[in-house]
């Protein structure tokens, strides 16, 4: 028997948790994408060996370690090195770092898939490199990269629950509090599952719409 009364008591906290989760996801994903894009650009544009080597090591290290471990290093380990972060900044930084190599890989593949001829046509006309990137490479790249970008962004929604382990008051954290105080496991986990389902479904709908917009010119053959 579910007790709906519980939600009268814990509702506000859960709602705040939802807000925090969505906030963390948006900021974390945006920053991870930005850093990933930067990494992809450096990987593509700077051929100096040491730079490539450092980049490789960074990508391998981040991809080779669990997110939880990275968060603990940031939150509990970094203060010993003099970097003291609150839970929220540590969590956002963690998401940024954790997501960046995956996004970098998606962007790298996407940029490599832009036909060289289209870039050469712009170069031959005297376009500046930044203009070529902004006006030609990014829009063309997005066509092939969007599905993977949406996919990994969805994966990141679910990684946000791990932020509860460093006391970021997101939905998982609030749900655990509720569980600990009421033992209402069914109600709280149901709310949690429902929320993520709706959240992910919304994102994938937005993603599909973006994909349609980005590829409209490929589909409008009459």
């Amino acid at each position: 028997m579910m007790e709906l009364d519980l939600f009268r008591e814990y509702g506000p906290a859960l709602l705040r948790g939802l807000g925090v989760t969505i906030f963390c996801w948006i900021v974390g994903t945006a920053c991870a994408m930005a850093l990933g894009f930067l990494l992809a650009l450096v990987q593509r544009g700077v051929s100096a060996r040491p730079v490539q080597w450092i980049l490789r090591a960074y990508v391998e290290f981040i991809r080779g370690t669990p997110f939880l471990v990275q968060l603990f290093v940031l939150y509990y380990g970094a203060p010993m090195l003099g970097l003291r972060l609150d839970a929220m900044p540590a969590g956002l930084l963690g998401l940024t770092i954790y997501g960046s190599p995956y996004f970098a890989e998606i962007f790298r593949a996407g940029l490599n898939a832009v036909p060289l001829g289209q870039i050469e046509a712009a170069r031959a006309m005297g376009f500046a490199p930044a203009t070529i990137l902004r006006r030609i490479m990014i829009p063309v790249m997005l066509v092939s990269a969007l599905p993977a970008l949406v996919n990994f962004s969805i994966i990141l929604t679910k990684e946000t629950v791990i932020l509860s382990m460093i006391t970021v008051p997101e939905i998982m954290f609030e749900t655990q509090t509720m569980m600990a105080e009421t033992f209402a496991f069914a109600e709280s986990t149901l709310v949690l599952a429902l929320f993520f389902w709706v959240f992910v479904e919304t994102i994938s709908r937005i993603g599909r719409r973006l994909e349609r917009r980005a590829t409209h010119y490929l589909l409008d053959r009459s």
Binding site: P115, G117, Q118, E120, A121, A122, R123, A124, M125, G126, F127, A128, P129, T131, R135, I136, P139, V140, V143, Y217, L218, D220, R221, S222
Partner: protein
């Protein structure tokens, strides 16, 4: 297809001069000491078997391909390097030189996310800094002049190969270049679409544009070119007027190449 009287307005054609140009890919030498004068306002056709280096040579003229030795001058300005054998030219200076050099590619290389109009207007806006409204006007005119006035809103995916290549020519010509490079502009086209592209090129030639054309269209080379250059294995083997090259090929390799071309084309009939 009827074309407007003038594709270019007024052209101030540039000349080009190549001296001892060499290009290496590792050990392989793709260009061997090529020296050549491209006279202003004339059509120079580069012919030769595939792999002979003619496309590589063409791409050196706007420095899309970096030559390793020698020099290439557009009018009297060296492209790609600050001096012969010297340091690489800065990006800004190279971009400025490239504004004068139009290029048309075998695969058209239109930008797929832009309409025909946007493809032509993009360079006007982003390179020449022309305001959008004016750039679109110029682009619409340029497309009308290549017979595509009714296709301005189409994306490349909704244009035939011949139409795409005409958009590509309009895109290059709208920038008001002083010399135009064509890299096998009809090789990717279905045979029935070749004529419309060659038609635009003929008009451009008649208007006094300096043109360098890598082509397998011997008919075009014979009838439109002022100079024909034959290359093989990275060497410039023969050059002359179309009459000299096609009617009286002194060189043994040139004669063999032309003979092969004639045989292939008579077999097709």
């Amino acid at each position: 297809m009827t074309l407007a009287p003038s594709l270019t307005g007024t052209v101030n054609p540039a000349s080009a001069r190549l001296e001892n140009v060499c290009k290496f890919y590792g050990e392989f030498q793709a260009l061997k000491d090529i020296s050549l004068v491209i006279p202003p306002g004339k059509v120079t056709c580069l012919i030769g078997p595939s792999g002979s280096g003619k496309s590589t040579l063409l791409r050196c003229i706007n420095f899309l391909e970096e030559y390793d030795r020698g020099g290439i001058w557009i009018d009297d300005r060296l492209i790609g390097y600050e001096s012969v054998g010297g340091r690489r030219m800065g990006g800004r200076a190279l971009r400025e030189m490239r504004r004068d050099i139009g290029m048309v590619f075998q695969q058209f290389n239109l930008w797929p996310h832009m309409t025909a109009l946007q493809n032509v207007a993009e360079g006007l806006e982003r390179v020449k800094g022309i305001p959008r409204a004016r750039a679109h006007e110029i682009a619409a005119e340029a497309l009308a002049k290549v017979g595509l006035g009714d296709k301005t809103g189409n994306h490349p995916s909704r244009l035939s190969g011949g139409q795409q290549q005409r958009v590509a020519i309009a895109r290059a010509v709208a920038m008001q270049p002083r010399i135009m490079l064509f890299d096998e502009p009809t090789s990717a086209l279905d045979p029935e679409l070749v004529g419309e592209v060659l038609g635009v090129m003929k008009q451009l030639a008649a208007e006094g544009m300096t043109m360098v054309v890598v082509t397998h269209e011997m008919g075009f080379a014979a009838h439109v070119a002022d100079r024909v250059v034959f290359m093989e294995r990275g060497e410039l083997v023969a050059q002359g007027s179309p009459a000299e090259i096609f009617q009286n090929p002194g060189d043994r390799r040139l004669a063999a190449f032309l003979q092969g071309y004639l045989e292939r084309n008579s077999l097709e009939l």
